[in-house]
């Protein structure tokens, strides 16, 4: 008969001199290391550092463009809005306050806001044109098919675990690019209800991320 011997992880003792040497290296590398994080880059961008801005663009442009594309569904327009958003972010960088949210949140909200503004003004323009010409133009812009690729992503998997009503509002907002008002109209539920489902659903998804991390 064998007994399981309780295994205790040996505590690794590092000589102080070694610790010192390591932390010196860490600090020497520190300026390189922190520049890879959007928040640290933003601190430099706020001081007019164009190289830091280029690094930030490289880190975030696909996420920003993809987010905008969900809303606008048109590459040409989405690139225009992405460009506007990054330039606006550059310009406003000195006012960025890390306590109001991460640098990534900052650029993503700017970009989404501009995309939604674009949709709103586009709709207004179309309404004007339609009443002017009375021509029955099918307003169908070539919708890119975006849903298929992501069905298996980790985030989509987590989304499937949410209650239906929360899953739907998150899906419509983030993956289909709709505003909460549009979702409210589409589902025929009050805006306040959409907002609270969104809020509860997002915080559940966030917890799910922690578990799987």
């Amino acid at each position: 008969m064998t007994y399981a011997v309780p295994y205790r992880r040996p505590i690794r003792v590092w000589p102080f001199s070694r610790l010192m040497a390591v932390s010196r290296v860490v600090l020497a590398k520190m300026s390189d290391f922190v520049t890879s994080q959007p928040d640290a880059l933003m601190a430099k961008i706020a001081l007019g550092d164009q190289r830091a801005f280029a690094a930030f663009y490289d880190a975030m442009s696909a996420a920003v463009f993809g987010t905008v594309l969900r809303v606008l569904r048109d590459r040409q327009q989405s690139e225009e809005v992405t460009q506007e958003a990054f330039v606006a972010m550059w310009s406003a960088a000195p006012t960025w306050d890390p306590e109001r949210g991460s640098a990534a949140t900052f650029i993503l909200t700017i970009a989404r806001r501009r995309a939604i503004d674009r949709v709103r003004s586009e709709e207004a323009r179309k309404r004007r044109e339609e009443t002017a010409t009375t021509m029955d133009v099918a307003p169908d812009v070539a919708h890119e098919r975006l849903e298929s690729e992501e069905t298996s992503s980790e985030m989509r998997q987590r989304l499937l675990l949410l209650p239906e009503d929360q899953r739907v509002v998150i899906d419509l907002a983030f993956y289909e690019g709709h505003t909460q008002q549009e979702i409210s109209d589409k589902l025929g539920v009050p805006l306040g209800t959409v907002k609270s489902r969104m809020s509860v659903g997002m915080s559940k998804l966030r917890r799910a991320m922690e578990v799987s991390a």
Partner: protein, 220 residues
């Protein structure tokens, strides 16, 4: 604008005016701030999930725009309540016409019209929460450090500030907080654009090069 507008804010649905109003609320609302911090990784993860690379030409266009686009002046922000407290105290001192002002070079620096406040954050190496900000004057780079709720140091130890530029860390001064955990000092080194400011814990008198992990860092 209130808590209810958080999702609208995150989803970019607020008008410019409402954004400004909500951000004002955010500044004084701990619950929205912590929810915002909490949800940031989710927003980023979803954005990564829908990420699509734009054309390479877009990068050139954006960088060309940025090279000719001016930035707004940094807000002279006494951003946090406690720094507001400093500013308020300063105003009272000014109103009283007190000569005390001349004896406090840190207050003079903070009050300069071209003073820029740089927020510093505690790294994982610092166990507790504390407030720390560096302030520099754009005209001459003169720098000060202001800290509150800082952990006391043992005898024989001191905090040391570093200016970390392309050539590595350069000592910017040593300091020990008072009983309240407050520290206010003018730093020895002038600000250089693009540098970081860090704080380590060192043997009394300071070290020529840092020997501990970085406890506070700008932009960390």
């Amino acid at each position: 604008m209130s808590h209810d507008d958080l999702t609208s804010y995150l989803l970019g649905e607020l008008s410019a005016g409402d954004v400004a109003e909500y951000e004002l609320h955010l500044q004084s609302c701990d619950s929205c701030q912590s929810e915002m911090r909490d949800l940031a990784p989710l927003l980023e993860a979803i954005a990564e999930d829908v990420a699509v690379a734009p054309s390479p030409e877009l990068r050139d266009r954006v960088l060309a725009d940025v090279a000719t686009t001016p930035q707004v002046a940094p807000m002279r922000r006494p951003r946090r309540q406690w720094l507001l407290g400093v500013a308020a105290a300063l105003a009272i001192v000014l109103a009283a016409g007190s000569f005390l002002l001349q004896q406090d070079p840190v207050s003079t620096l903070v009050a300069a019209s071209d003073a820029v406040v740089v927020q510093m954050a505690a790294t994982d190496a610092y166990v507790d929460t504390a407030q720390m900000q560096a302030v520099y004057r754009e005209s001459d780079g003169a720098m000060a450090l202001i800290a509150e709720s800082l952990e006391p140091v043992e005898d024989g130890r001191t905090y040391q500030a570093w200016l970390i530029g392309d050539n590595g860390p350069v000592s910017a001064g040593v300091f020990v907080p008072d009983e309240d955990g407050t520290a206010r000092l003018i730093l020895d080194t002038a600000w250089e654009p693009g540098s970081l400011i860090g704080v380590t814990l060192e043997p009394a008198g300071g070290s020529p090069q840092p020997t501990s992990d970085v406890l506070f860092l700008t932009g960390a």
